[in-house]
């Protein structure tokens, strides 16, 4: 006769993932600290995004007074904000041009785009802005990029005269909105 002993401290991973899949995001982080078996379940649920409920959105904002490396995350569920410190990232100087699936699409002060995960501080650089057909780099005497020329044309027509912007100002004109999509067949994301 087999006796089912134990309790939640040694629950099978499938049971834990069933439970964790129902948690909103700050709670989900906290269960990762409970014990090592809970941590494994937490890690796997984060990697595979097996949430049952779609997460309530969080509001993210930065402020000059809090400094370059700080972002605040306001949880609508808990009605409180969390202070995230991103030591390797000047998050406050970034433009936030989109967010999906927990990633922020940001543009830095050279108008280059990066994906940032504000919770894990992960950063993935997207292809350089000069790979956009309409953007041509202008080099200074030393051969470094100092400005971008932005040509306003599509495949069919020229929409207007081209303009030249400084590295940091280009992001004001180039980016409108970025979206992140998850491709289930490839198991990867793409950004447009």
């Amino acid at each position: 006769m087999e006796i089912v002993a134990g309790g939640f401290s040694d629950a099978p991973q499938e049971i834990l993932t069933d439970i964790f899949a129902l948690l909103e995001f700050p709670d989900l982080v906290r269960v990762g600290s409970v014990c090592s078996s809970w941590n494994s379940a937490y890690t796997s649920i984060c990697s595979f995004g097996q949430y049952k409920c779609s997460q309530a959105p969080c509001l993210i904002y930065t402020s000059e007074s809090a400094g370059d490396h700080v972002a605040f995350l306001y949880s609508l569920v808990e009605k409180r904000s969390y202070k995230l410190t991103l030591p390797d990232l000047h998050i406050q100087r970034r433009y936030l041009i989109g967010s999906s699936h927990g990633w922020l699409v940001t543009a830095d002060d050279r108008s280059e785009m990066h994906l940032v995960n504000p919770v894990t501080s992960e950063q993935i650089s997207l292809p350089s802005v000069i790979t956009i057909e309409q953007v041509t780099p202008i080099l200074d005497e030393a051969g470094a990029i100092c400005r971008y020329r932005f040509s306003r044309h599509t495949a069919e027509a020229i929409m207007g005269p081209s303009s030249t912007y400084s590295l940091s100002a280009s992001r004001d004109h180039l980016f409108h909105k970025a979206l992140l999509f998850y491709d289930t067949s490839a198991g990867s994301y793409f950004v447009m």
Binding site: E2, V4, P12, E14, D18, L23, E24, S33, C35
Partner: protein
């Protein structure tokens, strides 16, 4: 116990099956109720569990099985109606009230229940208990979660691991 109109059995007598818990207690229930378990459903469709045979459940003790069956009997009529599209708001409210009451129990019983629901593949019961446990976790610190769910005191190694994770995600613990 009121017999659900399950369409089983022609002259009003619903087909019964016998389940045997790990501590050898026999439970006789309507096939419709036991069939909420995906695992049992297959055996029952094959004609098992009737008469003197009984279906042994070596992983479920009698206290847990009786609780599981209480859930199945309550939910069987709605399940037989294919998720009860024609259930009235009153019926639904009554089931909801039953569910809330049903999981208002000690964490050790919740654990036995979710394990049994998992083994027997009773989807509704699994999500009901998972939801209850998730609610018990919400807004608590790791230490409070451990206490709520009856964990033993952390060993020094476990404490060190907890501290390391909490340090990494310090913002979540302010």
């Amino acid at each position: 116990m009121a017999a659900p109109e399950s369409g089983d059995g022609n002259n009003g007598a619903a087909r019964m099956v016998t389940l045997i818990s790990s501590d050898n207690t026999r439970f006789e229930v309507e096939a419709a109720a036991a069939s909420l378990s995906q695992t049992l459903q297959l055996t029952i469709l094959d004609g098992g569990g009737g008469g003197g045979d009984g279906i042994p459940l070596p992983n479920v003790d009698s206290a847990t099985l009786s609780k599981v069956l209480e859930y199945c009997i309550k939910h069987a009529p709605a399940a037989a109606n294919g998720g009860a599209p024609n259930a009235t708001a009153v019926d639904r409210a009554e089931l909801e009230r039953f569910d809330n009451e049903f999981v208002n129990i000690d964490q050790s019983v919740l654990y036995s229940l979710i394990m049994a629901a998992h083994n027997l593949e009773i989807e509704g019961l699994q999500s009901l208990v998972a939801k209850k446990v998730a609610d018990m976790i919400k807004g608590k610190s790791p230490m409070e979660i451990r206490r709520t769910l009856g964990f033993p005191d952390p060993t020094p190694e476990e404490q060190a691991e907890m501290n390391a994770h909490m340090l990494e995600y310090g913002w979540a613990y302010e």
